[in-house]
Symmetry: none
Amino acid sequence: MDATPMKNGLPRAAASGKREQTKIQNRQLILDAARQVFADLGYGAATVRDIIRATPLASGTFYNYFKSKEEVYQAIRDEVALAIRPRLHEERAKATTVEEFITCSFRTFFEYVSDDRLNFRTIRHSADNTRMRVDTPEVIAGFEELRADIETAIAAGLFPPVDPDFLMAAIVGVAFEVAERMLWRQPHDPAAAADFAANLFLGGVRALPLAQRPDVPTAEVTSDAA
Amino acid sequence: MDATPMKNGLPRAAASGKREQTKIQNRQLILDAARQVFADLGYGAATVRDIIRATPLASGTFYNYFKSKEEVYQAIRDEVALAIRPRLHEERAKATTVEEFITCSFRTFFEYVSDDRLNFRTIRHSADNTRMRVDTPEVIAGFEELRADIETAIAAGLFPPVDPDFLMAAIVGVAFEVAERMLWRQPHDPAAAADFAANLFLGGVRALPLAQRPDVPTAEVTSDAA
Amino acid sequence: MDATPMKNGLPRAAASGKREQTKIQNRQLILDAARQVFADLGYGAATVRDIIRATPLASGTFYNYFKSKEEVYQAIRDEVALAIRPRLHEERAKATTVEEFITCSFRTFFEYVSDDRLNFRTIRHSADNTRMRVDTPEVIAGFEELRADIETAIAAGLFPPVDPDFLMAAIVGVAFEVAERMLWRQPHDPAAAADFAANLFLGGVRALPLAQRPDVPTAEVTSDAA
Amino acid sequence: MDATPMKNGLPRAAASGKREQTKIQNRQLILDAARQVFADLGYGAATVRDIIRATPLASGTFYNYFKSKEEVYQAIRDEVALAIRPRLHEERAKATTVEEFITCSFRTFFEYVSDDRLNFRTIRHSADNTRMRVDTPEVIAGFEELRADIETAIAAGLFPPVDPDFLMAAIVGVAFEVAERMLWRQPHDPAAAADFAANLFLGGVRALPLAQRPDVPTAEVTSDAA
DNA sequence: AATGAATGAGTTTTCATTCAT
DNA sequence: TATGAATGAAAACTCATTCAT
């Protein structure tokens, strides 16, 4: 008789009783189900019921963890942002030349997408309206961080003093659209995608690597068993 | 037999040859309402009821024109595609250099977006899931046309033999993301946006125009009375 | 071809097509069902489903007529207030003596209750919380009207200058509680109840009519088949 | 075996003889929370969850003390009945004249209400349906006791042989309604309310005390800090 | 005993669609 | 064809109650 049990919801000493375990596990169950459902149906068409159904849990349980479909989505998005932002930021911070800045950013991004297709697709196909895109602190922060890094790079003389807003937009646009095509191809080749994007940014169309494009195999979107 | 048929709530003009007129008009009423609703709520959150409510018509009437929300959306998208594709295709067909190909494409696109913000936002914020993006003949054709034009340009020696798929993706990505930022600024400056994008593609980051970026004015997204 | 059909929801010439008929009928269907359900279960325990079930209508139809259970209740209460208030007010206005004021008021009230047990019970057993009692304009107006009439009567010298607020409360309290007991007895005798209440107010306990009380027959509350 | 049982979130005092103490205390916590919740929301709208939330206890704990919301309500009502009935009965038993019977009854009642507004409001605003009113032994007993006392008083020649049922109803009605108004006024004046009610019963309207009614101060119902 | 997450039946509510007028 | 109320399936959400810890 010596361990301090929990008190009124405050974390227990070790914070890892069987109950806590289950809670964490259930949260993940829901998030995983949601990821799949969003990727399958798109955010708009998905319902809370769909998510619950893809789970061994009871309907009421969902609401112990999230208030709504949107809240789950934001959690997923924040998870993604949390997973990739530090990596990107670190790469960019280390860069001492434009080449490094650009190349490393794209490589990191495409590798992440390739590793985590489901999350990427969830985010990608769920950008439902402006409000959602802008409201999540994690995501807006991610975009802002890129812009800030660009501004820093400009200040450091790495970049010419270009419009950082537009440049950020261009990077994001290329990253997402090219990533999509990369996933349509088998096998996924993040290095090639990164090469392409980086060369585009570094020298324009004329600097792009010459294509040895593997036949786009009828680009099946859903079946994705690489 | 005591019912004078009505037209849109207004007593019909004596003669009756204008059936067709009314039909076209009602169709437009619905499309306009849908455009606004999609732009406001996003495609996913919008309901047929919302669209009808934004119309002087009765709910049943909707189904005389469209089978579902999706069909309306497709109609809007096709309208957009129809409005912009010929222009783009024509520009690109005339191009005899990479410079022309790229520059004219972007200029045309940004001008269109600037002229028709509502349609752009509708499309942009409704890219809800892959199936939708791919399924509409008009749109897939639009993307394909761009790719075909790229391939033609490569064959003609205008472009180096790059990966046309990725190039298309990069163009589309930059076009859409930069267009969004262009709309956040007052006044809209399609020429500057086109300059930026064209230079990026022609010479990479180092070729970008130096920024005289007008302070992004608290980027109010909704109020848009340029 | 001469009658003006309706235009966009504006009332049709005669305002009594088959559709309008049905609407009025459905509204009544719902109100009647609600009356019964409230009387049976009490307002608090009743659910919208209960009301719908007591109706031949579909669930969605309920919401074409009322936003919530509370709105139905208010409609019923207003109906009651509208039915009884003018009668009471008229009686009281005609009164030239305290005796008349008091006697006629109670007689009218008890007769109404006797005629319309269901409505009375609905109101009576649903006084769920202060907010509800006070918020409905019709009801608050009913109480206020009584007080105003009392104040008028005082000004006219009919009543001594007593506290009109308390007097109103006393009248209301006696009316409702005695009415309840009246309904427990068979046969209902509104005249006797009115006599009792009137005499109490006119001369106090000592002026009350001597009892020939019919055996309260095990006061069955629910079974009410007079 | 590492769990120190806890008490109410606070680590339990070393010794363990005070089990009983805790139980009584928790019961009171629940009853107090319920009183407040019922007074705030009304019995019908209140949920067990609401009550638990207003408590430092866990939801499961509720069921160690009560089976349902209704049981809590009954407990509160019985508490009230137990608090006031003996006082009332005693007063009435001592009465040797109508005057005493009536006057003392009302004074006792209004004083109780004034002292214990919360309980009064709880009862008052929760009279949700007939079944509840009649079923609780304590309450029905309270009403019956009043009637029995009236019958005793009639037998003793204190009262004329009036209808004891109606008289009871009238007393109850006046008591509750006037009590409500008394609480709306600041400061509460139970003596004045008792005077008013007693005089009404002893001599009718004409015997009522002349009003020096303090301006009903915008009758704030909720803010009640007398 | 106390805890509080899980349960799932039940309720409220919405909405696409139909169909009599 | 236009109308708009009716429909009922299905979605969102709540809540009393249980039960492993």
